[in-house]
């Protein structure tokens, strides 16, 4: 990776669903350690963009560069191995696994071969210690032994973040991490995220405007698949086009 270069760079990304342009010539960059937010109204194409960055969907054209490397053609699991971790708008964990085992699975992906067929995985400290650390980082350590399926909605969101952290990624792709969390849980998650500042590059998709303006170093506004504005929070807040297109007067507070 070119030192000082962006961790993530999108160049002219396009994606259509039938006649609908859902990603329309999107270019943006996320610097190491920076939190870059993508905001936009419902259906603007934010999740579709995250899918293309993570490799779940292939763009029609354009390129995805990760740490300077062109990963446009790589499948999701290969990008994950390179250090690209994502969470899903609809929480995705392994419900039958304990919180700890969910995180340990992520540790396993980056440490040693998983084609080991006989030695029990549970209790391997090389897996459990980093997994526990990740749970601690999101404040879920006391729920380590609870099956993920039995966690509350907010706790599952925390767990998904812990799983992403357990991958020791270079970029966190978070699709509405605060959606559906109660006010208290949201506050805690914002605290966790701001604690990650500087250690991870983060691309944050979020509707919660106070959280976005509190966390982001830079913001891109997506409307109908197009980036209509990019800049630091203050500039975005003041941009009249953005206010008209997206931020209602009360949201812009």
């Amino acid at each position: 990776m070119a030192d000082g270069g962006p961790v993530l760079e999108l160049r002219g990304l396009r994606k259509r669903f039938g006649g609908l342009a859902v990603t329309d010539d999107v270019s943006l960059a996320v610097a190491p350690g920076a939190i870059h937010a993508v905001i936009g109204p419902n259906g603007a194409g934010k999740t579709t963009l995250v899918h293309q960055i993570s490799g779940l969907l292939a763009p029609d054209s354009g390129r995805v560069l990760f740490a300077g490397e062109d990963v446009t053609a790589l499948p999701m699991h290969r990008r994950a191995r390179l250090g690209l971790a994502r969470t899903f708008q609809i929480t995705s964990v392994v419900p039958g696994f304990s919180a700890l085992e969910n995180a340990a699975l992520a540790v396993q992906a980056r440490s040693g071969s998983s084609f080991r067929l006989l030695r029990p995985a549970a209790g391997q400290l090389a897996l459990d210690d980093p997994a526990m650390e990740a749970l601690e980082a999101v404040g879920l350590a006391d729920r380590a032994r609870t099956p993920a399926g039995a966690l509350s909605h907010g706790e599952r969101r925390q767990l998904e973040l812990a799983v992403a952290l357990a991958m020791r990624p270079r970029l966190l792709l978070l699709d509405e991490p605060l959606a559906g969390a109660g006010p208290e849980e949201a506050e805690r998650l914002v605290g966790v995220l701001s604690g990650l500042r500087g250690r991870y590059a983060i691309l944050l998709v979020e509707h919660d405007m106070p959280a976005v303006f509190a966390l982001a170093d830079g913001i891109s506004v997506l409307v109908y698949g197009r980036v209509v504005a990019t800049g630091p929070p203050a500039a975005i807040r003041a941009n009249p086009e953005v206010r008209a297109a997206y931020l209602g007067e009360d949201d812009a507070a």
């Binding site: 993570s54 779940l56 499948p75 999701m76 699991h77 290969r78 994950a80 191995r81 971790a85 994502r86 899903f88 995705s92 964990v93 392994v94 419900p95 039958g96 696994f97 085992e101 340990a104 699975l105 992520a106 396993q108 992906a109 980056r110 040693g112 071969s113 998983s114 084609f115 080991r116 067929l117 006989l118 030695r119 029990p120 995985a121 549970a122 391997q124 897996l127 799983v163 991958m167």
Partner: protein
């Protein structure tokens, strides 16, 4: 200490079943015919356990598991026809042949999922069935009679009923242990996670396909081993080894036992083999009773046979 006792508690259903099977010859079940029946049950139990790993562990619902079993049996035939009867060659050879079969068919089948996977495994099973029927060198549709059983270290251990009993029991115990370790390993963890949520597994950096394929091949090998033993038990091999009804029976044993429970699959195999035998002695229309019994068991045994103790306990407490 605590961990050791927890492990013991977990292993106790398997130990109980294996203990009963070990004691059977001394508890009045030592007559020739009963022993034959028990051997058959233990052999089918191995295949059912391997299918249980696929279905309950990996989420691969195969309706063609009789095919690798049959491949194992035909490997015994092919080696017998070539004059090879040493078990140290025959048994690994049967397992390897079945593993290769599973690897080749699985490479295609595992690219599909859900109903498609069920259909494609069924189709491969039928292909194997018809292929076996066309092997004129091995008797075609009429099958092939083995005039001697496989030997072990040059001794005729498998000819002896009790000897055969111990070999089947030992191999069943080994299969149970290895499958249990497999599911608990790093490999098994990825396999189980892929069953529950393949998207999550990809997102952390694993492609489920090679894990599923290796599991499919390994469990095919176990079925092949069972097939080789079954060929010895009956001293006869025919295409019916691979009939889809047998695949259905194996699936039923695994499900009756309780999905994902390995000792459950053993109990399921024992229950079905013995019940089938007992009912067919009572009446020639035994299938009329057998079918409804299976349906009732699916309706009322929620956790399968493995869940039976808990279910009975609940009834007693309520009653």
């Amino acid at each position: 200490m605590e961990r050791a006792s927890a492990a013991l508690r977990e292993a106790s259903p398997a130990l109980l079943l294996l203990g009963l099977l070990a004691a059977a010859p001394f508890l009045g079940f030592g007559q020739g015919y009963t022993m034959t029946l028990l051997a058959r049950a233990m052999i089918l139990a191995m295949a059912a356990v391997s299918l249980s790993v696929l279905v309950g562990g990996a989420g691969l619902v195969s309706l063609g598991h009789a095919a690798p079993l049959g491949v194992g049996a035909y490997a015994v035939v092919a080696l017998d026809a070539a004059g090879v009867t040493e078990g140290l060659v025959v048994l690994p050879g049967a397992a390897a042949a079945a593993a290769l079969f599973a690897l080749a068919t699985g490479a295609v089948a595992i690219r599909t999922s859900g109903v498609h996977f069920i259909m494609i495994t069924l189709a491969f099973g039928q292909m194997a069935f018809f292929t076996a029927g066309s092997l004129t060198a091995y008797g075609g549709d009429d099958g092939y009679t083995l005039y001697g059983r496989t030997e072990l270290f040059g001794t005729r251990l498998l000819e002896d009923r009790l000897g055969f009993h111990w070999v089947c029991l030992g191999l069943l115990a080994a299969v149970l242990l290895l499958c249990r370790l497999l599911l608990a390993s790093r490999f098994g963890r990825v396999l189980r996670a892929s069953r529950e949520n393949p998207l999550r597994v990809r997102a952390v950096g694993f492609e489920p396909y090679p894990f599923r394929l290796l599991a499919y091949a390994l469990m095919g090998a176990v079925a092949g081993l069972a097939g080789a033993l079954l060929a010895n038990a009956t001293e006869f091999v025919a295409p019916s080894y691979m009939a889809w009804q047998r695949s259905g029976d194996l699936l039923f044993m695994a499900i009756l036992g309780g999905l994902g429970s390995l000792p459950g699959a053993v109990a399921g195999a024992l229950a079905i083999v013995l019940l089938e035998e007992w009912l067919s002695e009572l009446t020639e229309h035994w299938r009329l009773i057998f079918g409804p019994l299976l349906i009732l068991s699916v309706l009322f045994l929620r956790g399968g046979l493995a869940g039976l103790p808990a279910q009975l306990g609940g009834l007693l407490r309520r009653g």
